[in-house]
Symmetry: C2
Subunit: 418 residues, 2 copies
């Protein structure tokens, strides 16, 4: 198979489809989403049969239990896909609004219109339900998409793709508005990320390694989602009950997620009052603590943190703890070690809260709230394609608007430039 030629064809088809999608009505896009849901509901048996083939192959090739679990499409996950489609259909259309339409001194009217990005490539790993997730968000935002899922989920993804095709056809939208790559050849990724003439943006969903590889080689813009080394800083002016709840929730609500706290900073003025109490609660949850020298004085039984710990995203029940002597030391530590994903301060001091907001350069900056809130649904985006750690275009949780662009519209009456 000539992978380059195959991807080029997908790209050309996607570009052509994206022209039509640009002019598609909200009603047609929503109809397609609902028809895809109908098709999935009707094809449950087929989808599960194809998924069983993937699961069998996965077991034969020695996939571990966690990966096999992610690969499985049981009835409740199929329900989830159907529900997700209806949810996206009921969200407002992110495209079409013209804003800031004003007359200029020359007499022309100038405004900005929100429009689809064009063609979006999504590269993801083993979970086949991401296929519906990604397809539905791209479709709602008026984009054509090329979806390249994990090789373990090939049959499941192809079965889902057929339902997507059926839904697009019933709504009269172009069949190439969503294309699911049909080969597991890894060269597809390399080709997809280097065809800026056909692909406008790449959204990789997966581990840090995948995303770094793609970012390094891409000639197309990438909406990156790298690591989450998130901090909670308990200030000297913190309400200690709030601090206790937030520090516990930020770490223990879920471990393997990018918005979990990985380092806890505590002002020396309140360290003795809060740290032993927190340590007890963490211990009960099975969280291992690694402390700075000052932290060890209060918690003599924990391990000493190495320099490396301050730069580690554990994604596990491990937490680095540092006692700091001032707000400024906390600020400097965060700005040096944070991955600029999400950082939170616990304080009752108004001026320090304002400074934290102004001086912490992270995608989400929080006052008296758990880092676990950094999430598209919690922020009210309705849906989330990922959490961007980039500064340009889309930052933090990315919803439908992150899959759009704005173009300038100019209205005149024969106006020329003097």
């Amino acid at each position: 198979m000539d992978v380059e030629a195959y991807v080029r064809q997908l790209g050309q088809q996607a570009r052509a489809a994206s022209r039509k999608m640009m002019a598609a009505s909200t009603a047609d896009k929503d109809k397609a989403l609902r028809e895809i849901a109908v098709a999935i509901d009707a094809q449950r048996q087929v989808i599960q049969a194809e998924n069983a083939r993937d699961l069998e192959a996965g077991r034969a090739s020695g996939l571990d239990t966690a990966l096999l679990d992610r690969l499985e499409l049981n009835m409740s996950r199929i329900d989830g896909m159907i529900e997700g489609l209806h949810q996206v259909a009921s969200l407002p259309d992110p495209c079409g609004e013209i804003t800031e339409l004003n007359y200029r001194p020359s007499g022309i009217q100038v405004g900005k219109k929100r429009v689809p990005l064009g063609v979006i490539g999504i590269i993801y790993e083993s979970r086949p339900n991401v296929t519906i997730d990604a397809a539905s968000l791209c479709l709602k935002a008026g984009n054509a998409s090329i979806l390249r899922g994990g090789k373990e989920a090939l049959h499941s993804n192809q079965a889902i793709a057929k339902c997507v095709q059926a839904g697009l056809a019933r709504a009269g939208l172009p069949e190439h508005a969503v294309q699911v790559v049909e080969t597991t050849d890894r060269a597809v990724v390399g080709a997809l990320i280097t065809m800026p003439e056909y692909v406008d943006v790449i959204v990789p969903r997966g581990g840090k390694g995948l995303i770094e590889r793609i970012s390094n080689d891409a000639k197309v813009s990438v909406i990156k989602h790298l690591d989450g080394i998130c901090h909670v800083y308990i200030d000297a002016n913190a309400d200690l009950d709030k601090a206790y709840n937030i520090a516990l929730n930020s770490k223990t609500h879920r471990y393997g997620v990018c918005n979990a706290m990985e380092t806890l900073l505590v002002h020396e003025g309140v360290a003795a009052a809060i740290l032993p109490r927190l340590a007890e609660a963490y211990s009960a949850e099975g969280v291992e603590l690694r402390g700075s020298a000052e932290a060890l004085k209060l918690l003599p039984n924990i391990q000493k943190a190495s320099e490396e710990d301050w730069d580690t995203e554990y994604l596990a029940p491990i937490l680095a703890v540092k006692v700091v002597t001032s707000f400024d030391e906390a600020l400097a530590h965060i700005n040096r070690h944070s991955s600029q994903h999400t950082d939170s301060i616990v304080t009752e001091n108004f001026s320090l809260a304002r400074r934290f907001i102004a001086e912490i350069d992270s995608a989400s900056v929080m006052i008296n709230a758990s880092t676990r809130f950094a999430d598209g649904f919690e922020y009210g985006l309705g849906a989330e394609i990922g959490i961007s750690t980039d500064k340009i275009h889309a930052r933090g949780p990315v919803g439908l608007e992150g899959l759009t662009s704005q173009k300038w519209v100019v209205f005149g009456d024969g106006h020329i430039r003097q």
Copy 2:
């Protein structure tokens, strides 16, 4: 000289300065801009003496007249720099505004705050006044900048850099908020565009070759400004006087600019009525026409256009002319050959105007207006760092807002995620 180490040092210094700039007040930033203007006014003699060294070296190395002209800092250009600084100082601060701050069902408040991007690298060519232009816009938006000018302007740029330093110092802002590269070693560019840990965005200002090289090699986000193959389409329903004025202005107002029309499309229904009249006017202005077969029937004296002409940015008094049989043919031609910079339709038909806006995928889409309006000043941005042909982040004319980002702010009262 170890260029890599030198650029790394610039980067570290810029990153540290950007942290302080993030918290700098609007008053301090504006004071710095005005103090830089004062310093330039006081140093006119020195700047001109250093500029004379560059001019002399340029003449000795055989620079052509056009380049020497761009290099020269005469009194009126120095006046222009001073005026530009005052203009940027009087623009509203693009940063600080918190929008969409709403309560969520969980009880947290979530909003978006407009903030500086961080560190911006600007790579430009021979005109030394770009140094002030770029420095002032980056500074106003709260960014630290690293400016790498053309080697021909080294002494001029260093003299200007001293004035910038004086102004920053008088306003109490960090000296590394603006750094002008002190070497002409071309390896600086290669280092600058591959240090995402220190540089957030690169803005190349120069020819297409420079920008393509940078985009290809960059590991940092690039705000690209590629070519402008702009179209005017005269529809069958056009007011022919408006069409005449717009077609003439879009081509002949200036030739070497990216928003000049390069291809004129005319509906066959009005071609006989408008093309000979336009051809006469173009001829009087010295514009060479290259026509499609149908255009040649009406204008037998012009050259035939080759396929290549439809994809050429002439930046010169040359214009490709095509007669089309329908609105859809015009649409297809533009979406195939446009560089997605600026395209305009001349029509009195409301429905076709709406379709043109919806279906042309360009950064600026115009109805009954000259393509020459695609410009930051004409659009009311107050200033322009460039015109982006990208779709993500900033599209079309890029003003101060394009040099900023948005971060999420979350306010709680001890809120945790359930």
